[in-house]
Symmetry: none
Subunit: 255 residues, 2 copies
């Protein structure tokens, strides 16, 4: 695939951006690095004059931006989601520096659309958004002041992406990554089944599902693997359903 | 010299900046990357409320900024000057990419103060300014739109400088990888369970187990994750065993 085409497979998703000037500045940053697919989830003000002003010569990126009302809509068709984070969190998802992460993204973007997910200016990504990311990207920064402006972060990530996209192609095994929707359906199926067999119980279920999501996110599931895993879940459920026995079960984590 | 001291030897010089917001945003970009020496040559408006607003938590960098009336004044005591340029010029100075140039700057900054010289937003460096630069730095950009915002350029150069100065030890999340034996025990447990519930059948079992092994190998399982996964397997088996029903089951991979 041509280098410009790789960058056309990379979607920049800005979630709930507060300041329209940041959207414009992000569009400008994107265009300078050869990115043009901008998705906006519920921006507070858009379209907006200040966004246009800050976009300078990149108003075309703003004009073509896709405004979405949900995360699902913004990630439709995407096979890999990288989340931007300034903070260390409890649930420690895999975290890469931009220079490590962008080659991974480029590899995937050769075949399928990928997304870079940026949270709000003040609080970053929500837990729901984090759960959809296969890995996190953290920009190295001054530990006593890590607060990069949103558009500055887009600029930096776009820069690393541009450099990574020009690198030598390494020979990779053929893979058929699952789409974001397929992965979500798998997680819902798993949650239902684990609840049914009595493994998940109200109190711990959120935390356990987060841990399982993190595990499978790291693996970056392929379509065939999702088929196998859902096949296992289906056999488990069918088996139980046929015998009409659904009962509570001790959770056995200590074994 | 300490690593932080290297960055203290790097002066960011903004010449004839038009928009005070850009000065503030540049100060913020500097501070996030650990830079704090800001010199302003004849800024159009400074100090300025918009500069303060855009600086966010980096108003201290603005407060300590040195306002100069000439290039000589701004470069006093400096032994190496790197000029930022978006354009190819007649004057054929040596031009480096940021990733090549910043290690050169860091080497020098270990001994003596150095400067990064940024021209005006509209026209970049003057010929007089160019003449004072030992070399130029050009940020790789989309050939059809190279117009980075001034503060975005400061952010990018500061980032490369920070990486070149060796500031970053990569802070990785704490992980407790499982041992090879733990992983093997998990696979045996899984194989037994999948056979018991009728998912694995003689013919395909080797191939399916290979695929599952490949998936979990990619994820590089942690100890806690193995505990969770084996917990799920145990619940499944206990559940079935209690009901005394182990029978052959159709494998459902197509669903």
């Amino acid at each position: 695939m041509d280098k410009p085409e790789i960058l056309n497979h990379v979607r920049v998703v800005l979630s709930h951006t507060t300041h329209p000037g940041n959207i414009g500045a992000a569009a400008r940053a994107m265009k300078t690095m050869g990115l043009r697919d901008l998705y906006l989830i519920n921006p507070r003000h858009f379209p907006d004059r200040q966004a246009d002003a800050m976009a300078a010569g990149a108003v075309d990126v703003l004009r073509d931006a896709v405004v979405c009302s949900s995360l699902d809509e913004a990630l439709q068709g995407v096979t890999l989601v990288a989340g931007m984070s300034a903070r260390v969190r409890d649930i420690s998802q895999e975290v890469f520096a931009p220079r490590e992460a962008m080659p991974l993204l480029v590899q995937q973007a050769m075949r399928q659309p990928v997304a870079l997910l940026f949270g709000t200016e003040m609080s970053g990504l929500t837990n729901q958004e984090l759960a959809r990311c296969q890995f996190m990207v953290r920009i190295p920064a001054n530990p006593s002041y890590t607060s990069l402006n949103l558009a500055a972060a887009v600029q930096l990530i776009g820069y690393e992406l541009r450099l990574a996209s020009g690198q030598e192609e390494c020979a990779l095994p053929e893979v058929c990554p699952a789409s974001a929707e397929q992965v979500e359906r798998f997680f819902r199926h798993m949650e239902d089944t684990l609840t049914e067999i009595g493994f998940l119980r109200a109190q711990q279920s959120t935390k356990l599902m987060q841990k399982l999501r993190r595990l499978y996110a790291r693996a970056r599931l392929e379509q065939e693997e999702i088929n196998i895993l859902r096949g296992i879940l289906t056999v488990t459920t069918d088996f139980n359903a046929r015998h009409g026995v659904i009962e509570s079960n001790e959770m056995i984590l200590k074994k």
